[in-house]
């Protein structure tokens, strides 16, 4: 799965640590999701989508 997390985070001027604190997860989790090493669960994907005020499919897309 591909995602736009890094771009969305950069647009807001947030570091990985900032995003991790907002999502209440570890910085490693944010890094793993951004780099595509880990696909988040549906509840976490919804939390990410809610944080950015977007739909899940606008952040996560099919593909490698």
């Amino acid at each position: 799965m591909r995602n736009r997390l890094k771009v969305l985070r950069a647009e807001r001027g947030w570091s990985q640590q900032d995003l991790a604190e907002r999502l209440e997860v570890s910085r490693q989790s944010v890094n793993a999701i951004e780099t595509g090493r880990y696909d988040p669960s549906l509840p976490l994907a919804f939390r990410i989508a809610d944080l950015f005020g977007m739909a899940i499919e606008d952040i996560f897309q099919r593909g490698e």
Binding site: Q16, E24, V25, S26, Q28, S29, I33, R37, Y38
Partner: protein, 195 residues
């Protein structure tokens, strides 16, 4: 050299000091043929090295963004069981000899060192329940599966070698250190995959 590498260095140093200290005093006690009580006593100072080892581990986990409240609780519980294990093992060994224990008392003393190990198994289960960070939890589950696979493989091969009288008998409690080695290897594999 990056900050993460620097922050991990004390972990290696404290870890090496702890293991060298524990095994060193153990072998020295056996080599000097020390009685049970002094053998147990000389292992207390290196055992205390576990405290800075765990603290350095926590600092390294925080530095690489992999620290959580559940991890902290697990580390503290792990330290508690380690001290309790040494204490209860000492009580069991010394008690069985000095009291010439038999019957129910011997059963009680024999099961004492197993109690902290049962606590460790409970602590691991609690960690998986309490960990709110799904990625960190997944990594521990993966490492635990690797550890279980290693344990099954080692136990199977050793069991057959033992059946054919090629190797000596190993007590069942050896499963715990083998599993712990597997967990450490699994953690290293996780780290390597991340890079």
């Amino acid at each position: 050299m990056d900050a993460e590498t620097v922050s991990r260095r004390p972990v290696w140093l404290w870890g090496a000091a702890f293991f060298v200290g524990m095994f060193g005093t153990g072998f020295a006690a056996r080599w000097l043929d020390l009685p049970s009580v002094p053998s147990m006593l000389v292992m207390i100072p290196p055992m205390l090295l576990l405290i800075p080892f765990v603290r350095a581990t926590e600092r390294a986990q925080a530095a690489c963004g992999a620290f959580s409240p559940a991890t902290r609780r697990y580390n503290r519980r792990g330290m508690a069981w380690s001290f309790a294990y040494v204490l209860l093992l000492g009580v069991a060994v010394i008690g069985a000899k000095s009291l010439h224990a038999q019957g129910p008392l011997l059963w009680l003393l024999a099961v004492l060192p197993a109690l902290p190990i049962l606590y460790l198994i409970w602590a691991m289960a609690r960690y998986l329940v309490e960990e709110q960070d799904e990625y960190l939890r997944m990594k521990v589950v993966n490492a635990a599966l690797s550890a279980t696979g290693l344990l099954l493989a080692v136990a199977t091969v050793w069991g057959f070698l033992e059946t054919f009288a090629l190797v000596p008998h190993v007590p069942g409690w050896a499963a715990v250190p083998v599993w712990a080695i597997g967990l450490a290897l699994g953690t290293f594999v996780n780290r390597w995959v991340e890079k």
